[in-house]
């Protein structure tokens, strides 16, 4: 396994670029300045090696083989589950692998919501959700007759606990679903407090942790949510593996989501019984290599220390906010202070469409996302169709922020003509 180099060059500063082979790539003489980690992260050599090692040396299907290879594959897969669950402080038996966050949320929207919601219930979500935490609830509400309501996003990019209390006081909220960290504004929501208040009102809580797990220390027992979903590919792992942590009594009572092989205990001609948790919710052959790769990714993050990752990304964010504020014609969305936000900055350049910003920055090999970020309701609140967005991973350094600012200056020059 590649060991990371933790540099002590500055307070909380990491320089782990050497661990990420793709960062050595140059295009047209420009080094890769990857500022799109909120979309997907780059992968350390340790993850790439674990994938190759699995396929070269241990590849076999899991769960029913008695030969050595199958036992090795099983141990690697279930061992990864143990470490992934421990990484966020949750039991392995109630840690379920899905394709991605979208599938994890859909699992709850189908198996829990459709059997628990009635026309007199409400689902409460927020205006800062990703489409993956909106559309499944729209469909579940349509299927059950339940109401779908939204918490507003304030001018400062935050949610209001007072509005939460008012909504909960209506007495009909059966589910609260919200993001831990906004993929557009970067807002870090005080999720433990949201959970406490929702539970006091008798509501179940689902948290979308897609942006949180890669960049914050996350302790699910302390947060206390009933469901918490995240995805591997944003957390230095491979694509194709998402994670759903759920409360045992809820998962036990829920019907299966997808059905078929692996998720059964017995199958008769007209009737089947279900496997125990977590396999009841893992139909078909699992994404074995991806789970093993994600295990290597969280080992890597664990070795860096999530508190170090957070402090590194927070100082990069603070530096970027400061440099953007000093650049004319730039509007930054979301909370002002880096302490209140994750390592993601959405911005607009006056008179230049985000698509053109993305294209022009891309010519300097500065990779930012330019889109609605799958958050169109939030775009409507911000009064824009799209934004440009720079987001950080543990492998970014202050020079990446400088390259962003330089490329923004060049884009502004082209459009000034």
């Amino acid at each position: 396994m590649t060991m990371s180099q933790v540099s002590l060059a500055g307070a909380g500063a990491l320089d782990v670029r050497a661990d990420f082979p793709i960062l050595a790539r140059e295009i047209d003489g420009h080094r890769l300045v990857y500022l799109d980690s909120s979309s997907t992260s780059q992968k350390p050599a340790a993850v790439l090696d674990s994938l190759e090692d699995f396929y070269r040396n241990h590849n076999a299907n899991i769960h029913r083989g008695v030969y050595l290879l199958a036992q090795e594959a099983d141990a690697l897969f279930e061992g990864a589950r143990e470490r992934i669950a421990a990484f966020v402080n949750w039991p392995a038996a109630t840690t379920i692998f899905t394709r991605n966050v979208t599938e994890a949320i859909n699992l709850v929207a189908y198996s829990w919501a459709r059997t628990n919601l009635t026309p007199s219930d409400a689902v409460l979500i927020t205006q800062m959700e990703h489409h993956s935490n909106i559309v499944p609830w729209q469909l579940a509400a349509q299927a059950t007759g339940a109401q779908l309501r939204y918490l507003d996003v304030g001018e400062d990019g935050t949610l209001s606990l007072e509005q939460l209390d008012r909504e909960l006081a209506r007495g009909d909220v059966k589910l609260l679903a919200l993001t831990h960290v906004s993929n557009v504004l970067g807002t870090i929501n005080p999720v433990a407090e949201f959970v406490r208040r929702a539970h006091d009102a008798g509501a179940i809580v689902l948290i979308d942790g897609a942006q949180a797990v890669p960049q914050l220390p996350v302790d699910l027992e302390a947060i206390g949510a009933d469901f918490y979903a995240w995805t591997g590919h944003k957390a230095l792992g491979p694509t194709g593996v998402g994670v759903l942590h759920g409360r045992r009594e809820l998962l036990e009572a829920m019907p299966p989501f997808l059905s078929g092989g692996d998720m059964i205990a017995t199958v008769e001609a007209q009737h089947s019984t279900w496997n125990e948790l977590p396999w009841k919710f893992e139909a078909g052959t699992s994404m074995i290599a991806q789970v093993i790769g994600l295990g290597a990714a969280i080992d890597y993050l664990g070795a860096l220390g999530m508190a170090n990752v957070r402090s590194h990304e927070q100082s990069l964010t603070a530096y970027a906010l400061e440099r953007l504020a000093a650049t004319a014609g730039v509007r930054v969305f979301g909370p002002r202070s880096a302490g209140d936000r994750g390592g993601v900055i959405s911005f607009a350049l006056e008179g230049i469409h985000p698509h053109d910003v993305g294209e022009l920055l891309g010519r300097r090999n500065v990779c930012v996302r330019a889109s609605h970020h799958c958050a169109q309701p939030l775009m409507a609140v911000l009064g824009v169709a799209a934004t440009a967005r720079a987001s950080f991973g543990p492998y970014n350094v202050a020079a990446d922020v400088d390259a962003l600012i330089d490329a923004i200056g060049e884009a502004q020059e082209i459009f000034a003509n």
Binding site: I352, D356, A385, F415
Partner: protein, 131 residues
């Protein structure tokens, strides 16, 4: 000189021709670019001679989509409706006169898509792939 953001592209982007609303029109349509949420609508008035008498675009978008709409509008006014309804991607890309990457192709062709939709009622014309 930038190969994509040429002076004439930026000039059309900053001062788009034939944007606004028509007093009365015979055809209209509205399209969204799902990539970025950009929206473009068009209103078209047809004369007794079967030619496009007037045309206005409405909406917002990137430099490429706005410049394409603006440049297309100058060609479309006066063109027989029959001819305008079957214009293809090459016509638009030739008119733009710049190399457009695969991801920006949707931007370049959004205005033609909305015009074809308005004139033929067919919203299915694909802006990606090889047509």
């Amino acid at each position: 000189m930038d190969d994509l953001y040429r002076d004439f592209i930026l000039e059309h982007y900053k001062r788009p021709r034939n944007f606004g609303e028509l007093q009365s029109h015979d055809h209209e349509a509205h399209e969204v670019n799902p990539l970025c949420g950009d929206e473009l609508g068009v209103q078209i008035a047809v004369g007794d001679d079967g030619r496009i008498a007037d045309l206005r675009f409405q909406g917002h978008g990137c430099a490429i989509s706005q410049a394409a709409a603006s440049m297309a509008s100058e060609q479309l006014i006066g063109m027989p409706v029959q001819e305008a309804g079957v214009l293809n991607a090459d016509w638009m890309l030739d008119l733009l006169g710049i190399d457009v990457s695969a991801t920006r192709r949707k931007c370049a062709l959004l205005s033609l898509k909305v015009v074809r939709h308005a004139l033929t009622g067919d919203a299915s014309w694909p802006t990606s792939g090889g047509q």
